[in-house]
């Protein structure tokens, strides 16, 4: 199954990138057909929890990935709640290849804790893939449903799911009211961790999950802070003459690449997370900015206009050797690298429309995965299979959404009516 999924996945990427870059074409080429049809049956007893039901949360999670096609199960009478007595003929007539069933029970009437028992079943093989039980507080119901999604995803794709991760973003209420917010990856359970009257940009979550680095304009110019998520305490990482911006964590969370100007153009430096050991990486008359640390810890991808218009380059931090990475298109920005180091995510100006694109770093094939016209800030999910980005809703208000890396599924993340921008994605934690 795993190898089959992988071949579908990468086969699709290849198929798309050899065609013209229109999303309509991708769908005609059979993207939809390669999605796994999966039925998530309504969980027995889920009426004891208010709000969205487990099967809706799981369906919504899997749907975002572009790898699954959750089937509508709302009209099914007496859905199965365990892997006993599955009517395989009925589910296979619905085209379901897999089914998830489960039940929710009160585990402890005193504490009110709940117990969720569930199974993933292969309809074709008439065989249970996995059965598990989670217990927790009622308030952890969404988290438990996301854990089910993670397990289904991992069993069917061989990659870790990201449904239990967090994102952070900037909410701009008006010109004098900004907040830095943290939420579940799907926008639920959001809370603000900083409120300020000046812009905040360039959020970057540390790979160890503990901190967020960001750029604030509260000192009347851009400076870099690091905020500890557990204590809420923040420290000023860089406040040198001129601008201080574009923090990017090293894979071990011990260093950052940052951009400083002094009285010149933007140049990239590395600095220890405690503010010591600052070192300039390379020097040029052109703009060097938007560093992004590769998972190997040795290469830093960045954008630069050294060739005229902005393109993406990489520099080796040991010998300062620079090579150009993007060649397609005249204006490419905002690089970020997948956690396996194989895919480059970036922003491309396609005849005046800003779109999210992915370049396979082995074949160098490029696939545009969004339509623009004003998309920005693409960032990989920690498993590299989904992308968080911003787009302009009805051409006006900036919002966040996800797009699957095959470009098939673009869905909004609803976190309110304000301007939502500059998102970052936290790591997978246990």
């Amino acid at each position: 199954m795993i190898s089959r999924m992988c071949s579908i996945f990468f086969g699709l990427l290849l198929l798309i990138s050899t065609s013209t870059y229109s999303l309509e074409v991708i769908e005609i080429l059979g993207g939809k057909a390669s999605e796994i049809p999966i039925a998530i049956a309504p969980f027995e007893g889920s009426e004891i929890i208010s709000g969205q039901k487990a099967h809706q949360i799981i369906s919504s999670d899997l749907n975002r990935t572009g790898l699954f096609r959750p089937l509508n199960t709302s009209g099914i009478s007496n859905p199965p709640s365990s892997d006993i007595n599955i009517n395989y003929t009925k589910w296979s007539a619905m085209d379901a290849q897999f089914i998830v069933v489960g039940k929710v029970e009160i585990e402890n009437p005193v504490s009110g804790n709940i117990k969720v028992t569930w199974s993933l079943i292969d309809i074709f093989k008439e065989k249970t893939v996995v059965s598990m039980r989670y217990t927790g507080k009622k308030s952890q119901y969404r988290a438990i449903a996301h854990k089910v999604s993670d397990n289904v995803y991992e069993h069917l794709t061989g990659s870790k799911g990201i449904f239990h991760t967090k994102i952070a973003y900037v909410k701009k209420v008006n010109d004098k009211k900004y907040s830095l917010n943290v939420a579940d990856f799907d926008g639920f359970n959001s809370r603000s961790i900083l409120n300020t009257t000046q812009p905040i940009i360039s959020l970057r979550w540390s790979p160890d999950g503990e901190k967020i680095a960001y750029v604030s304009f509260e000192k009347k110019k851009p400076v870099i802070y690091i905020q500890n998520l557990r204590t809420g305490k923040r420290t000023l990482l860089a406040n040198f003459k001129g601008n201080n911006s574009a923090p990017a964590w090293s894979p071990d969370s011990r260093k950052l690449a940052i951009v400083l100007t002094y009285n010149q153009n933007s140049q990239i430096y590395t600095i220890n997370a405690d503010g010591s050991g600052i070192k300039q990486l390379m020097r040029s008359h052109a703009i060097n900015t938007e560093p992004s640390w590769a998972p190997n810890g040795e290469d830093i991808y960045f954008s630069s206009n050294r060739g005229g218009s902005p393109q993406i380059y990489k520099v080796n931090i040991n010998d300062d050797e620079i090579s150009r990475v993007t060649y397609e298109g005249k204006y490419n920005l905002s690089p970020s690298i997948s956690y396996d180091g194989k895919l480059l995510l970036f922003l491309t100006n396609d005849q005046g429309k800003f779109k999210v694109a992915i370049q396979n770093l082995i074949s160098n094939q490029v696939l545009k995965i969004s339509e623009g016209p004003a998309d920005e800030s693409p960032i990989f999910a920690p498993n590299g299979h989904l992308v968080l980005f911003t787009y302009k809703d009805y051409g006006k208000t900036t919002k966040i959404g996800t797009v699957s890396i095959n470009g098939l599924k673009r869905l909004p993340i609803n976190v309110g009516t304000s301007i939502i921008q500059e998102p970052t994605w936290g790591p997978i934690t246990n």
């Binding site: 001129g242 951009v259 100007t261 009285n263 010149q264 900015t289 006006k396 301007i419």
Partner: protein, 170 residues
């Protein structure tokens, strides 16, 4: 865009006229005159050392914005007089400190626009350097697109592609 710039210049001119009117009615160098605080809260000696009367009286010195084309940071000829006047002012008043703030329109990434705004402020600084101004008198920073109009269309975005000259004393 040109029309907008023209409007802006007219606005500046009328502001200058207003300031000028206020100036003539209150002799600012009069000892103990509370109006002396109009010089950004400095005393008369500092005001003289910094040439503040000239700074707000000279039409060219009251022009503070240099505009650029999309993704560009080369200075157009039409701004050379303005830059020349500010260079002369800085050369004549060694204690004066200028802060140049670069800006960009909203298109493209926040970080690249921060760098582009910086390129623009550095372009203005280098033009001043070429006229003999020392780096110690100038600080360059950028606001990128952070204070730009996020909904501008086409030419109207030109208002955000600029470097603003400010002085520390202000």
């Amino acid at each position: 865009m040109e029309e907008l710039q023209l409007k802006k210049s007219l606005l500046l001119l009328s502001l200058v006229a207003l300031l000028g009117a206020g100036c003539s009615s209150t002799p600012l160098d009069a000892p103990g005159d509370p109006a002396a605080s109009n010089y950004y809260g400095t005393d008369a000696a500092t005001a003289e050392a910094l040439g503040l009367e000239e700074l707000r009286g000279n039409t060219l010195l009251t022009q503070r914005s240099v505009f650029f084309d999309f993704n560009k940071y080369d200075i157009k000829d039409e701004y050379l007089d303005l830059i020349g006047a500010h260079a002369q002012y800085l050369n004549n008043h060694a204690p004066a400190r200028m802060i140049i703030k670069g800006n960009a329109d909203f298109r493209g990434s926040h970080e690249y626009n921060l760098s582009l705004g910086q390129k623009r402020s550095v372009a203005v600084k280098e033009a001043l350097n070429a006229l003999g101004v020392d780096d110690s008198q100038i600080e360059t920073i950028s606001y990128g697109e952070e204070y730009a109009n996020q909904e501008c269309q086409a030419d109207a975005c030109g208002q955000d592609r600029r470097a603003d000259i400010t002085y520390e004393v202000e």
